[in-house]
Each structure stands twice: as C-alpha cells, then as structure tokens.
C-alpha cells in the first residue's frame, strides 16, 4: 500500500514539476528579446557606464586638463602602455615646475585594468565606453591624449569637466 501511494504521489509530483517548467519557459518565449542587433542599432546603442573602452584625458570647456605630469600613471601601468613626456618650465614666481608635453597611450597594449585612473591624484583620466577600435596598422592604436593647445588648469579647478 505504501509503495502504491508513493508511486501515485511521485507521478503527480513529477507531472506538476514538468508543468511548472513549461510555464517558466513559455514566459521566456514571450518576453522581449535582449539580443542587440549591432550594426543596425549603431545609432541608438548605448554601452553600460562601467564599460572601459579607451583611456582619455579629461578636458573642460576652456581646454584645460588636470594632468601635472607626475608620472604615477606611467609607473603603475603594468604593460608600459603610457608614456608621459614632460618639460621643466619656470613660472612667474621663479619656481621650476613640470609641465605636460605629450601624453601617449597605446591602446594595443592596454589591459583596461584602470590602475592609471585609480591612482591619478588629480583625477585627470577616465575611460570612454567606445568599442569600435579596429584599425589597419598598429601605429594608429597609439593615441595622444592631451588635446592640441591644452594646458594645466589654474589652481581653483573648474567644477564641470567634459571629456
């Protein structure tokens, strides 16, 4: 008797669990699909915020950046992706100061580890969520991050920084 009732209970339980599973899959069947149709939706495609596409130096409207050319990023980079070229300039007060000449970034050897961004004392760097980086020669992967004619922001740093 015990066996027989167990048989029937098992049968009912099994059938029920199968039906629950079928209900779950049917719900997914009618759910909106998550697939991105990439080349077609290029105009509207937005990457998520934390996506690290390429390193950029942040510049504000007056073409000021915040890089003091201290070289911490360069020292922290595990791959030698960054090269900071600086020169010594004498300011009005007669003090010698380092000034950024060129900030070179090799996208081809970047790990996207974000160590440069994290360790930058001036928060001068950031990542953009772009991803279409394919080029035909390696040379094109080497970017100059400081914009033409940009300079270090004067002491009270402007609040709003645009990329």
């Amino acid at each position: 008797m015990n066996n027989a009732s167990e048989y029937i209970v098992n049968f009912a339980r099994g059938t029920r669990s199968l039906l629950v599973g079928m209900r779950a899959t049917l719900r997914v069947f009618f759910r909106a699909k998550t697939t991105e149709r990439y080349p077609e939706n290029r105009a509207t495609l937005t990457m998520f915020d934390r996506f690290r596409g390429e390193l950029v130096m942040l510049h504000d409207e007056q073409n000021y950046h915040r890089c003091t050319a201290c070289g911490i990023c360069e020292m922290n980079c595990p791959n030698g992706t960054l090269r900071v070229t600086s020169e010594w300039v004498v300011d009005e007060a007669g003090k010698k100061k380092k000034s950024l000449v060129e900030y070179q970034y090799d996208l081809g050897s970047c790990l996207f580890c974000q160590l440069c961004v994290r360790t930058c004392a001036q928060q001068a760097l950031g990542f953009l969520p772009t991803f279409e980086h394919a080029v035909f020669t390696r040379g094109k992967l080497i970017h100059k991050l400081n914009r033409e004619g940009s300079s270090l922001a004067p002491k009270p740093v402007a609040e709003s920084h645009t990329v």
Binding site: L18, A24, T25, V28, K33, T35, R37
Partner: protein
C-alpha cells in the same frame, strides 16, 4: 470545402487520354514520388528554420536573422552548404551498411510521410490498415539507426545506436497502445475513415478522459520516438559527440538530419489525424455561423495549422526539459507509461461498450 481529388482525377484522365493505362500509372507514380520528395524537403527546411527560431525565443534570443528577411533563407543556405560538402570516406567501416543506413532511415520516414492525410482528397497511401502500416513503416527507421551505429566502427556511435534501439522499441509500445486506444474509439484503421469520422467532433473531445490520457501519452512517446529532447540521449552530444551519426558527413548526415525533422512532422501529423480531427475544421455544435466560417478555411490549412501547434508543443518539451538518463528513460516507459496506457485502453473499451462517448 475544396476537394483535392478533383485535381488528381483531372491529371489522371489527362494522362490516360494521351498514353496507355500502364504508362499512365508509371508516370503518375513518378509524379507522386517527386511531389512527395519535394514536399518532404520543403517541410524539413521550414521545420529546421522553425526549430531554430523557437529555440532562440525560448532562450530569449532572436535566432537566425541575417540571411534573407527575418533569416528566412537560413535553412536554404544550410541545405546548399550540406549538398556541396564532401562525403568523407572513413577507413575500417562496413562500407555497404555504412552507405545503406541513411537511406533506410529516409525511406522509412518518406513511407510514413506518404500516409498522412494532408487535405480532403490529398493523400497518397490509403488502405484499410493505413494507421497500422504507418506505425510499421515508421519503425523501420530504427534498423537504419542501428546499422549506422554498427557500421561506423566507433564506440560512441554504437552506444548511441543501442540506446536508440532500446528507446524506440520501448516507446513503440506506448505509441502503438495509444493509437490502439483511439482506433477502439473510432472503429477503423483506415486513415480517411478516421478523419471522416471526426466531422462531427474531434476524437479528443469525443473520447474525453481516455482520449486525453492517450493524447498525452502519445505526445510523450512520440517525442521519444523522434529521438528529440528530453529523450535525445542516442545523440547526447556531451557524452557521445553525436551518437549514431558521429561518423557521417555531407549529405549522408543530411539524410539523418532531414529524417529527424520529418519524423517530428510525422508524429505531429499523426497526432493531428488521430486526436485533432485531421483536416476537419473546428465545429462547435449549435454555433451555425461559426461553423460556416470555419468551413471556408481550406482543409490543407487546418491540417498544417494543427500539425504546427503540435510541433510547437514538442519543441516546447525539447527546450524545457533536461535530458533523461537511459535508466530513467526506460523506467518512465515501463513503470509509468505502459501501465497507464493499458489501464487507459481498458477504460476506453468500457467507454465505447457502454456508449459513454459523445
């Protein structure tokens, strides 16, 4: 409702008018064979596309959408690829049986396909033991699968084929018994009569409880019979790479692939014929206007529509349930389906004898 036998009779008379009877018969046979094979491959292509789309939707994806509008030409492109692929000659196989196996599988499936009543007057094979013939001819396929596994000289293939044999022979019982249950209700083995008998109500509704049980059992056993998930352990790719067709390539593999999908259609078609009224339109007693509107829909659409619903349900099974182990598979058949089926047959006999059906 449009009767397709008008067309076939017209073709028949046309041919007999221009040539002797014997020659006309031969020509008709060739035409029918060509039509069957054409329908066979077109349905297989449509099913492959449908399977990929349905599978994708069940996994929250879009499925094929690059080749042609909505990816409609995807399976055509696949077919072209399959046709131009090399058939690789494998050493140490039993050449003759290795080559023969895919043809046995495809012949069995075309034979069963020819029995289906597609529309009023559109049926190739129809005689007094039609449904019995269908069951018999569709089981020849297992011989092809066993041969393929044996002739491949490969452990995986052999294990897959043996599993397939055990599975098909077990589930043949369930299929046979559930078909028998419905034959008891309708009182005929001839497929046209089976369909004609459902003009006043589909057998699923006429036979109420026992018919519904037989329907569920038929669906489960039919899924197992076509070697589809969750019963696809003969080709369980994680354990056996591809089971019995591991060593096949090119169009030989294509035949197994085609037959697999067509068997799905055949199972759905037989379910339609036996339980859902074949090509009969849906009639609700008392709703005259509704019934008349339903009559305007051509019978071929009724058949393919119902078969399509059944195919969707079987695909739904496949993409929901995990694969069974071989002992679970056999336990399901011998400990659950078979006893339920035998009791159900008894119940149906009681229902028919005491006229409890509608």
């Amino acid at each position: 409702m449009f009767d397709f036998s008008v067309i076939t009779r017209w073709v028949d008379q046309l041919l007999r008018g221009v040539m002797p009877d014997a020659a006309a018969t031969v020509v008709e046979c060739v035409i029918i064979g060509l039509c069957l094979l054409l329908g066979y491959s077109v349905i297989a292509l449509a099913l492959i596309y449908a399977e990929r789309k349905v599978c994708a939707w069940f996994q929250c994806r879009l499925g094929p959408n690059r080749v042609g509008p909505l990816g409609l030409l995807q399976s055509v492109a696949d077919m072209v690829k399959m046709l131009i692929k090399e058939i690789i000659e494998i050493r140490h196989v039993d050449r003759f049986l290795f080559g023969l196996a895919p043809y046995i599988v495809i012949v069995a499936s075309v034979g069963a396909f020819a029995c289906l009543p597609f529309a009023r007057g559109l049926q190739v094979l129809d005689f007094n033991v039609g449904i019995f013939f269908l069951v018999a001819v569709s089981s020849i396929g297992v011989v092809g699968i066993l041969l393929a596994g044996w002739a491949s000289n490969n452990k995986y293939s052999l294990i897959g084929a043996m599993r397939s044999g055990a599975q098909m022979i077990s589930y043949e019982l369930s299929i046979g018994l559930s078909i028998l249950t419905m034959v008891v209700l309708s009182g005929t083995l001839q497929i046209t009569e089976l369909v004609e008998g459902q003009a006043d109500g589909w057998l699923l509704f006429k036979g109420h409880v026992p018919a519904a049980i037989a329907f569920v059992i038929y669906l489960v056993a039919g899924t197992a019979e076509t070697n589809r998930g969750p019963f696809d352990l003969p080709e369980a790719d994680s354990e056996l790479t591809a089971g019995y067709h591991t060593e096949y390539s090119g169009m030989h593999f294509g035949f197994f692939y085609l037959a697999e999908y067509l068997n799905l259609f055949i199972v759905a078609g037989v379910a339609t014929t036996l339980f859902l009224g074949g090509w009969m339109p849906l009639h609700v007693p008392g709703w005259e206007g509704f019934n008349e509107v339903m009559d305007y829909i051509p019978s071929i659409f009724w058949f393919f529509g119902k078969a399509g619903v059944m195919i969707f349900v079987i695909m739904w099974f496949k993409w929901t349930f995990p694969r069974l182990r071989i002992d679970q598979l056999l336990r399901l058949e011998w400990k659950y389906l078979l006893p339920v089926n035998l009791l159900n047959l008894l119940l149906m006999v009681i229902v028919v004898v005491y006229k409890l059906h509608f």
